[in-house]
Symmetry: C2
Subunit: 265 residues, 2 copies
């Protein structure tokens, strides 16, 4: 029997809402067992950039990170948000350590190469330092990760938090039974995107095929679910998608969408 | 024979100078053995606050930290500066982890109580988590500390970096032979404050008494040296004060002022 590890990604809209975040962190602190939290930055970085007069660009929902923007996201993600999350967890007697990818060489990446778009200081992940994570977790220290990585040549790089969660979940599956949880504002994968009561409780590889053919799952959800099944194929035990406010129920299997390999729950 | 540990405080004016900082970090990376780096924020936080239109107040050289200033120093110290230092050290193959006092409950503090001055969100240190530091150092992970602590009730607090260096040096003396180095823009404790060639090579408790009587050491230097001797009395092996550019020589004893208990070097 391997120990369970929860790798939890928290969505930007929760970060933006002080009360929701506090409620979420209380729930996170009360989870029994080892856990890793990956957070993005929500609108705080954008708001902050506007205050400083730094213009933001997005392509396909990804921020184009120029030098000034990199400075801002490093401050907001790895500084303000990360440290406030850690301080709140400590107040709930949940020992936590806040890291970015440069710390302890946690996540090494390279600057994204793209034939037509210059994403700027954006990193694609090369490796995860599982030894460091395992050592911290075995000391009952929970890990809070800001989505900034480094290239081992002195450069910090802005990196997609969903991808970080997936890569960490995959890598840590070598040691733990990993449950990867994407918590955000929606109740899960929905039959009707506008109706939170239409949650699809469980998706398997074969039901996914059907849902795509019926066009119930389409556009933006397809790459996300493709990634989820890729993670399952790389050893992750289960992926759960659902509302951040229902964290406990997501973990116990009483809420959200559970994405699993086979037909069994 | 106990292992040596270097606890090194780097002054704000080095942080402000990209080239000097890079040179210093290269030197730091090349130090053989366990080391902890404590950095302040220099003028970056002040500059940044000005950009955002947040007014700064200083009393006795200490920043009055209102809520907006706390946010800024958390971003600048624990985010921008801390992560850039770590990324640079990684590029020199010096494994390092960047922490603030909330991380792993590293430094617990309480909001400063003062009869007449409200310092705002400023923390005075209660405890240092030596177990965490020891565990990281034993894995050959060097620790880079931003001067933000927490009160274990969810509040981050701005804390004097010199004091953090002293408290950590004292606490870690339980396990290591600790050399505490204050590196800054001057060559050491000087006979003539304006002349870097007048470094006092060594100060002992008895020579300190003489230097005070002769008014060679006066005003601002007195509390600093009182703190240094207090640290020696709490187990720190040696305190060295000198130029950040001469880090190697400070460590080998070929530069700076060495502050030691007895008359021997």
């Amino acid at each position: 029997m391997r120990d369970k590890l929860y790798v939890i990604k928290i969505g930007g809209n929760i970060i933006d809402d002080e009360k929701k975040l506090a409620f979420f962190l209380k729930g996170f602190a009360s989870i029994n067992g080892k856990k890793i939290l990956i957070h993005g930055g929500g609108k705080l970085a954008t708001k902050f950039a506007a205050q400083l007069g730094v213009e933001q660009q997005l392509i396909d929902g990804r921020r184009i990170t120029d030098a000034e923007t990199l400075k801002i996201v490093t401050m907001v993600y790895a500084g303000y948000i990360n440290k406030n999350i850690v301080a709140q967890l400590q107040s709930h007697n949940c020992n936590a350590i806040g890291l970015c990818g440069a710390d302890g060489n946690l996540i090494q990446s390279h600057k994204r190469q793209h034939p037509t778009i210059d994403y700027g200081f954006v990193g694609d992940i090369d490796s995860v330092n599982t030894t460091l994570l395992k050592n911290l977790l075995e000391q009952n220290i929970n890990v809070v990760i800001a989505p900034i990585t480094h290239n081992k040549e002195g450069l910090l790089l802005n990196t997609n938090a969903d991808t970080i969660a997936q890569e960490i979940a995959q890598a840590m599956s070598e040691f733990y039974e990993v449950n990867l949880i994407y918590s955000f504002e929606k109740a899960g994968v929905l039959m009707n995107a506008e109706d939170d009561s239409t949650v699809i409780t469980s998706i398997t590889q074969s039901s996914y095929k059907d849902l795509k053919e019926q066009k119930i799952i389409h556009s933006g959800m397809i790459p996300k679910l493709d990634n989820a099944f890729a993670a399952l194929n790389k050893g992750v035990n289960r992926i759960i998608v659902g509302k951040a406010e229902q964290l406990q129920d997501l973990i116990s299997g009483n809420a959200g969408t559970s994405i699993v390999k086979g037909s069994k729950n």
